[in-house]
Symmetry: C2
Subunit: 134 residues, 2 copies
Amino acid sequence: MKRNSRLSLALHTLSHMAEEPNRVRTSADIADHAGTNPVVVRRVLGRLREAGLLTSEKGHAGGWRLARSPQQITLADVYLALNERMIATGPDYEVPSCSVEHALFRRVTTVLTEVEASLVQKLSETPISAISGT
Amino acid sequence: MKRNSRLSLALHTLSHMAEEPNRVRTSADIADHAGTNPVVVRRVLGRLREAGLLTSEKGHAGGWRLARSPQQITLADVYLALNERMIATGPDYEVPSCSVEHALFRRVTTVLTEVEASLVQKLSETPISAISGT
DNA sequence: GCATACGCAACTAATAAAGTTACATTTAGC
DNA sequence: GCTAAATGTAACTTTATTAGTTGCGTATGC
């Protein structure tokens, strides 16, 4: 794995799960499939659980499962759950003091925010069931 | 500066240039405004030049200038010039051997490619002149 | 010829992410 | 209860990317 790996891992895993929603999978199984390791899987899937897309159960016979039907989970849900905004200029760029600069800065930020919203809108049109074979 | 800095730097610089298209700017000037240094500026703007968005001239009184009018340069041009695909699963994820896996893999890739195309389409609707004050 | 610009290569430093190890906690089944 | 198997999480190491820096070659206008 390399870059964009969280989104990639999340999508592949969810698509798989969408094919057999009732099957419980352990992070070790998922890691094997994805060619990574269980802790990394738990880190990524943990975010999806926080967002209400997955549930996990501890202990013997525990593991991961979809929290709702594959038709009700869209790519936007996954994208937002990972909380990795691809576009927005973060709040780290030094905010300019000059007012002209500041106005320019705000216009750039505004446009990028709109673009991101449009991206999320587009993502929300595709449920993960459309990616799985079912 | 931190992340997304190339896109950020490019957009801010181009927006500035859009306000006074005839003015030639040195990488040192631009670096001062952006709070970075001239070499970094040349690296980023170099990509925009390769994409035909900017021209640069060496020597005394040299510097950077828009290659065409601000109305004719869109955010998609900038995004594509930087060649940083934000979405696509690169060709680095190990390609699965199992045919079922392979089919799933291809569907994920296809969907992400479509999403990226839609993003570029959206970006192409905004020229940099819309961000500058003019 | 000299000052001033870009072009580029090479190196360092900072950052983020994946990978790894270790251990606590929870749960099912005996 | 004991044990095996699973998640949860913290800490650390490794790796990859990027910004930053330095130095020097080359081009250009005065």
